[in-house]
């Protein structure tokens, strides 16, 4: 069994695919097919690329419906399910709110600016069918960023499987999907970084044919009146959510694990921990006080604190 690793940059971050297999030729063909799949999805859905489907939907906002294919309709359908399940808190049209919040400066935007941007947010104002999509208000923006990277990790893993790969780990800037376990028979072990220390793992999660997705970033937040706000924005208020700092979830699909992590981030800390505990998937969560929680034990046991 040989190891093959391929790194490239896509989806706004570093990507790495690790394969263990007998034949170099099989591994190299699989690696390039998987990378091509990630690049295909990036060029199809990136809002920064002018010929992506996202850009053409956004530039036609308030003007005309845009033809979409089945995969896009499938993603909108999925996003609709997450929107419904989150009572409107997960919204692919909420990206415009980023224009108000600059997490580097730490400044609180003017209420008037938030209000004017909120007028351009609203999943229910996206009209879509299996073959077309239409943002009904000019200035509205659709952003698949909330699900495409996770979907790409799953899709790349699926490509590896169809290339007869049995042991692989796809890592798209922190969203992971595994094919089988390691060649040695061990699971893939993923450390979740400790909030206080770059080199220390707060917890480790094991993957065999499973995916791992994370939401949140404890280095990007805004402090306001003594409270810390993360960079996840509530599309109903226009304000960042005051909840957990970061959540990682493992599951059979990176896409679903990613949505579960995001939904947990959209809730207040205590509610989020309760919600995660009944989820039925392994998870690790970290709050702004540097405490880490995991699925072990009743109510989410605290295994590391300041």
């Amino acid at each position: 069994m040989q190891s093959f690793e391929h790194s490239f940059s896509a989806m706004g971050g570093p990507c790495k695919i690790h394969i263990e297999c007998q034949q170099e030729r099989t591994a190299l063909a699989a690696l390039s097919a998987a990378e091509a799949e990630v690049r295909r999805l990036e060029s199809k859905y990136s809002r920064y690329l002018s010929n992506s489907i996202t850009s053409s939907i956004n530039s036609s906002a308030g003007i005309a419906p845009v033809a979409i294919d089945e995969e896009t309709a499938g993603l909108l359908n999925y996003a609709d399910t997450v929107w419904q399940e989150s009572a409107g808190l997960f919204d692919l049209t909420s990206g415009v709110l980023r224009h108000a919040w600059d997490f580097r400066s730490g400044l609180i935007p003017e209420a008037r600016l938030i209000e004017s941007l909120l007028a351009k947010v609203g999943w229910q104002r996206l009209q879509w069918t299996q073959s077309s999509a239409f943002l009904t208000e000019p200035g509205m923006e659709l952003d698949f960023g909330g699900c495409v990277k996770e979907y790409a990790a799953d899709s790349a893993a699926s490509i590896l499987r169809s290339n007869t790969i049995e042991h692989a780990l796809v890592n798209l800037a922190g969203d992971l999907a595994s094919v089988g376990g390691q060649g040695s028979g061990q699971p893939w072990t993923i450390g979740v970084r400790h909030p206080q220390s770059r080199n220390q793992a707060a917890a480790s999660l094991e993957l065999v044919d499973q995916a791992l997705a994370s939401s949140g970033d404890y280095e990007r937040f805004i402090e306001f009146e003594g409270k810390r706000y993360g960079h996840i924005l509530n599309p109903l208020t226009g304000w960042p959510v005051q909840g957990l700092a970061a959540v990682s979830v493992t599951g059979p699909q990176c896409l679903v694990a990613g949505s579960a992590a995001t939904l947990a981030m959209l809730k207040p800390e205590n509610e989020a921990l309760k919600w995660l505990h009944t989820l039925g998937l392994p998870w690790v969560a970290v709050n702004y006080r540097g405490q880490a929680f995991s699925a072990d034990g009743p109510g989410g046991s605290q295994f590391e604190s300041e």
């Binding site: 997450v82 009944t278 998937l281």
Partner: protein
């Protein structure tokens, strides 16, 4: 839209079933070769209620009982093939209705064959299946051997998914050649040796219509040719051809709240002997945790009589039969199945109660005194390994 759903596990199910419709997950959902070798053993018992004394000449009579043992093996072979072997042994004993006669009071009463039937049946079935990117194709050979009956059957089938993976088309063809040589015992038989051939064709389509619902339709045609008369019945003379058509539809709905699935199936049968029948099935697949499922089911069946059926047959006619299976009746089955996984093992338990009655049917016609009620129970254990 309600508040943020509190049931995170329900949310997880909703997200998963929605995600699985995306193309990246389609490959995993198309018909795929088994990843495991599967071994199964099952024992089942079928026991008909005694016939009431008021319906027979000569007092109450026991009827048929069948004990069956089944062995199942399914194994992946190479990357895209699987092979399955199924063997079944059946031990049949008891008595069956010989003919219907009329009492002095003019009532239709059954004359039973006497508790004389003893037969064993062995069936061996070999299936091989090839899996391609968007479906699979199979070939099956089945040989069945009884003291008085031999049957060889072959079938081929194939399935094909649409490019979006939402629709599956399938078709099958089968043929069998059967030899009948009734054992000569207490009752005289109406033939010494005969044969029949059966040809059958089936087409079907199933479609995923929403995140949690699936719809399917099927149409089949069967042609029987040869000795179709029951050799052990005194007053039985049937046509030597039978054309049968079946139209069926099914609906599956997964319900997130109760973590259960509702299965509703309907089947319409029609043939050129004048029999037509409707069957409706309801099953509720209730998941209890991840390892257990409890499945109560209810089936209703109603059929019209064959043109040549009568309790008091006229043997000067070309065709006649007093077999209750060709009479008009309605039947209700109520059952419960339990499935429980323990590691690599799966336990299957099932019990079913079947009752039939002329008055429960939607078709009019004479009540056959031999209409049957039975219990069926089974216990099975499957084992999976890589």
């Amino acid at each position: 839209m309600g508040p943020f759903k509190k049931d995170s596990n329900g949310t997880l199910l909703a997200l998963t079933s929605s995600a699985l419709l995306l193309p990246a997950y389609q490959a995993a959902r198309a018909e795929a070769p088994p990843e495991y070798t599967e071994l199964g053993l099952r024992y089942s018992n079928y026991e008909e209620d005694d016939t009431a004394g008021s319906k027979t000449f000569g007092g109450s009579s026991e009827r048929m009982e069948v004990d069956a043992a089944q062995f199942h093996l399914l194994a992946p072979v190479a990357d895209n093939w699987s092979v399955a072997l199924d063997v079944a042994w059946e031990d049949m004993s008891g008595a069956s209705p010989w003919f219907v006669g009329q009492s002095a009071e003019g009532d239709d009463k059954i004359v039973m064959s006497g508790a004389s039937i003893e037969d064993t049946r062995t069936e061996v079935s070999v299936t091989t299946r090839y899996y391609y990117e968007r479906g699979g194709a199979g070939f099956n050979y089945t040989r069945s051997d009884e003291d008085d009956y031999e049957s060889d059957a072959i079938s081929v089938d194939g399935s094909f998914d649409s490019s979006d993976g939402q629709t599956t088309y399938s078709a099958a063809l089968s043929a069998s050649a059967d030899d009948i040589h009734p054992t000569q015992g207490f009752i005289p038989t109406n033939t010494v040796e005969d044969e029949k051939d059966i040809r059958s064709a089936w087409i079907g389509v199933s479609r995923i219509i929403s995140k949690r619902a699936m719809l399917r339709f099927g149409l089949s045609y069967t042609y029987r040719d040869g000795f179709l008369t029951d050799p052990y019945k005194l007053l039985d003379q049937r046509p030597d051809r039978r054309n049968e058509w079946v139209l069926q539809g099914g609906y599956r709905q997964f319900l997130v709240g109760p973590n259960a699935a509702l299965h509703v199936d309907y089947r319409y049968f029609d043939d050129d002997w004048g029999v037509d029948a409707h069957t409706v099935d309801f099953a509720w697949h209730q998941n209890i945790g991840e390892r257990t499922a409890l499945i109560p089911f209810l089936r209703y069946h109603t059929q019209d009589k064959a043109d040549f059926f009568a309790n008091s047959v006229d043997i000067s006619e070309r065709y006649y039969a007093d077999d209750y299976r060709l009479s008009a009746y309605g039947a209700i089955s109520l059952g419960l199945r339990l499935r429980h996984d323990i590691g690599n093992w799966r336990l299957n338990l099932a019990a079913e109660r079947y009752k039939s009655d002329n008055g429960w049917g939607i078709y009019g016609g004479e009540e056959a005194p031999a209409l049957v009620n039975f219990w069926r129970t089974s216990i099975g254990l499957d084992y999976r390994f890589r």
